[in-house]
């Protein structure tokens, strides 16, 4: 069986290397091209993995999230027409940027050269001119911004996913952030995603171990989703409703009547950036980390949803552990059937101490080939690192070293398991827990009894609160239940 890993991060690492390798001839005689190619792919994977867990807090991102201020908005370079947009983001550049964005959570693991290429691409996108942004607003909302809103700030405050963010005040007086998509970008990116030949070629160069077709499908699906802001607005609204009244988790609400395919309007949020948080006292950092941890796993086990972008740019921090979560462009909703084996894996490994049960659950989820000629203890030994923080009670400090070891294990294609392990497509996004969340918590050197918190959240334990935040959260849950609003998103929608 062919190992089929949709390790987007690894591929991006490879892709950038591919791009940089372009046209740099090698005098390699190529009698064993296949082998060389595999070696090159491995090098790319290692490159992506090496130190990949250290979060690049200050590294430039490929589209900063809403609320993130651009260092310097180059208004003198502003895009004035849809043609300018096409020239800047068309001909594969937008697609390369989206690929880079997907990998941005390991961008510290890329070589300096690869990181430079990706961040340069980001830097190469200037904001829209006020007139062009107004034109999009007019097309989408049916009237120009100064009529659609009571007050409209024509200067963007931030770069956003394939667009930019403006501040405004609605006609009923609410301060909002309005994300405006670059005109023509959807058509441009869709056309470029259609060049499967070129994309395959680039992926193939550096990711010989990947199932290129599955990877391409994943990429296309993600990017296509992100081009339609309505989906993001729906997701954000679901999270906002789910966490309404939560003591420390905040999600800005959506203004649906001012949200369309290319415009999404949400409540304006403020708070400290991640770079500021790391200068706060450790106790504050621990609380922020606890909130993020609770958000990720409460969303997964409670709301059956995962917000796939645990990146420092997507949070705003307040004292006392309150965190505002910003970007919902990449959300995965799990069906009960998809979630069940994940829950079983945790339960068998961490609570029941049942290695065979764990192995069966891995097989049920499709992570492990059935009947793989491997002893169960070897499988457990290999996988345990992913569960390391929740196998035992007691305070534990997340470190960059732990996050790195998780990343290394994740990318360990030389392991004897590699041939029998794969990540089914519906779980690909969960890699971001391993690659993103742990890196983030490691960056904060956060200490907590993660196991105890996990027990609060695990549906098969539902343990008592073990921190003050847990107690406050329990109060929130009780009030939600009384309000008849306890379930996952699915039950909200229906």
């Amino acid at each position: 069986m062919r190992a089929r890993r949709l390790a987007i991060a690894a591929v991006i690492g490879g892709l950038s290397v591919a791009a940089l390798t372009l046209l740099r001839g090698r005098r390699s005689a190529r009698p064993r091209a296949g082998r060389l190619r595999v070696e090159r792919g491995m090098a790319a994977v290692r490159l992506a993995a090496r130190g990949g867990a250290r979060y690049a807090t200050s590294a430039p991102r490929l589209f900063a999230s809403a609320g993130e201020h651009r260092e310097a908005l180059r208004n003198d370079l502003a895009l004035q027409t849809a043609e300018d947009v096409a020239a800047t983001l068309g001909t594969m550049k937008g697609v390369l940027m989206k690929l880079g964005q997907m990998a941005s959570y390991v961008d510290d693991g890329l070589s300096p050269a690869a990181r430079r290429t990706l961040s340069r691409l980001q830097d190469s996108v200037p904001p829209m001119s006020p007139e062009l942004a107004a034109q999009v607003i007019t097309e989408e909302l049916g009237q120009p911004p100064d009529r659609a809103f009571a007050t409209w700030d024509p200067e963007p405050i931030a770069a956003a996913s394939i667009g930019q963010v403006h501040r405004a005040i609605t006609r009923d007086g609410r301060a909002v952030a309005v994300k405006v998509q670059y005109p023509g970008i959807a058509e441009t990116i869709e056309a470029d995603l259609g060049n499967v030949g070129l994309l395959r070629r680039m992926l193939k160069i550096t990711a010989p171990m990947q199932d290129v077709d599955a990877l391409l499908a994943e990429l296309r699906e993600r990017v296509t989703e992100e081009l339609d802001y309505r989906r993001e607005a729906r997701n954000q609204q679901m999270f906002a409703r789910y966490y309404a009244g939560h003591p420390t988790i905040g999600v800005p609400g959506i203004v649906p009547e001012l949200s369309t395919r290319r415009v999404v309007t949400s409540e304006l949020a403020d708070g400290a950036r991640f770079a500021e948080l790391v200068t706060w006292p450790q106790a504050e950092r621990d609380l922020a980390a606890e909130t993020i941890y609770r958000f990720v796993f409460r969303s997964l086990y409670g709301a059956h949803s995962f917000n796939g972008d645990p990146h420092p740019g997507n949070y705003l921090f307040h004292r006392g552990g309150r965190v505002t979560f910003l970007d919902f462009g990449l959300v995965k909703h799990f069906t009960p059937d998809e979630l069940r084996p994940l829950v079983a894996m945790v339960k068998h490994l961490c609570v029941d101490n049942d290695p065979e049960g764990f192995r069966r659950a891995m097989e049920d989820a499709g992570f492990l080939m059935r009947g793989a000629p491997l002893p169960t203890d070897m499988i457990v030994e290999h996988m345990a690192v992913f569960y390391d923080t929740v196998r035992e009670r007691g305070p534990r400090t997340m470190t960059g070293a732990y996050a790195s070891s998780v990343t290394r294990r994740f990318f360990d294609f030389r392991s004897p398991l590699a041939a029998y392990v794969q990540i089914p497509r519906s779980y690909v996004i969960l890699q971001r827990i391993n690659l993103g969340l742990f890196a983030l918590l490691g960056e904060l050197s956060a200490t907590a009894d993660w196991r105890c918190i996990a027990e609060e959240i695990w549906p098969f334990v539902q343990g008592p609160p073990c921190t003050p935040m847990g107690a406050a959260e329990a109060g929130w849950r009780a009030s939600r239940t009384r309000a008849g609003n306890p379930g996952p998103f699915g039950s909200i929608i229906t």
Binding site: L23, R26, R30, L77, A78, T91, R120, L198
Partner: protein, 299 residues
């Protein structure tokens, strides 16, 4: 194929470094073209690499021009350095201020003084400073800018195409071609090119250098595929007679899909180029000047 030849390793880095250095940070003036010129637009076009490759293919068909390169240039040992130096010169003349462009041209003219000899194929003497040869090189460049933009970039209107040819006459003058010799409209350029055709032929040196350029040794297979897109574009943009001289098969007509593919390959190349140090800043210097020129109502 004769050995040894240098590899194309470092092509991107070295031409990027040359580019970044050649776009002035604090120009004294707008140079010989200026931010409102058609020439700047053509130079910034996505199809510019195709134009460059196509112009080399055409230039090489003049036996005496080719002989000068073949006998005096270091292209065999350092093909990348040769290309980078040429593109740096073009960038300086296009985007530099008048003093910078003039100095660069004077340096080239000084070098040309020493490039003299006898072509072994035709037996004719040549001198790189000969206006006849300089004009040929110039015309091939201008014609290629037009052809590449029309096919793979942003096509110019007929009026802008004429303006481009007229604007570019100064480039030839800087290298010593008398003004009255230089075509200053598309029609004049076409007449000139047609008139020179009897003098053209594919010498062994042209065949050798161009086959190196189109299929650089040492490229990995997958990478070579991408290069092939760009090279196919250059061959496709050639006039039929030039393809026949080289013996290239007649390509199928350019479909919309193929054009898009080639533009996408050019986009990837451009993204790589932008990743090199200083290139983005250089681009931004140019773009900011172009934007402010169009903003002040020049256009």
């Amino acid at each position: 194929m004769s050995e040894p030849m240098g590899t194309v390793a470092g092509l991107v880095e070295r031409s990027a470094a040359a580019y970044a250095a050649a776009v002035p940070v604090t120009p004294q003036d707008d140079g010989f073209f200026g931010p409102g010129s058609v020439t700047w637009r053509v130079s910034m076009d996505l199809a510019a690499p195709v134009a460059g490759l196509r112009s080399l293919l055409i230039q090489a068909l003049h036996p005496l021009a080719m002989a000068g390169v073949d006998q005096h240039s270091d292209w065999r040992t350092d093909p990348v350095g040769r290309l980078a130096a040429t593109s740096a010169y073009e960038v300086t003349v296009t985007f530099g201020d008048r003093a910078g462009a003039t100095r660069a041209a004077q340096r080239v003219r000084a070098v040309h003084e020493y490039v003299r000899g006898v072509d072994t194929v035709t037996g004719q003497p040549y001198a790189a400073g000969d206006p006849v040869l300089l004009l040929w090189v110039h015309a091939a460049l201008v014609d290629s800018g037009l052809a590449a933009s029309a096919l793979f970039g942003t096509p110019l209107t007929a009026a802008d195409a004429d303006r481009y040819v007229a604007e570019m006459t100064i480039a030839a003058e800087l290298l010593g071609v008398p003004h009255e010799m230089i075509p200053d409209s598309v029609a004049a350029l076409e007449r000139y090119l047609a008139g020179l055709r009897p003098d053209l032929r594919r010498t062994p040196a042209a065949a050798e250098s161009m086959s190196y350029l189109l299929d650089p040794p040492g490229l990995d297979e997958d990478i070579a595929e991408l290069w092939r897109d760009i090279r196919d574009a250059a061959v496709l943009a050639l006039p039929g007679w030039a393809r026949q001289m080289y013996g290239y098969p007649e390509p199928p007509p350019l479909t919309a899909e193929r054009r898009t593919e080639i533009r996408q390959a050019l986009g990837v190349l451009d993204a790589v180029f932008l990743g090199e140090p200083g290139v983005l800043e250089a681009r931004q210097r140019i773009t900011a000047r172009m934007r402010s020129a169009s903003g002040t109502g020049k256009k």
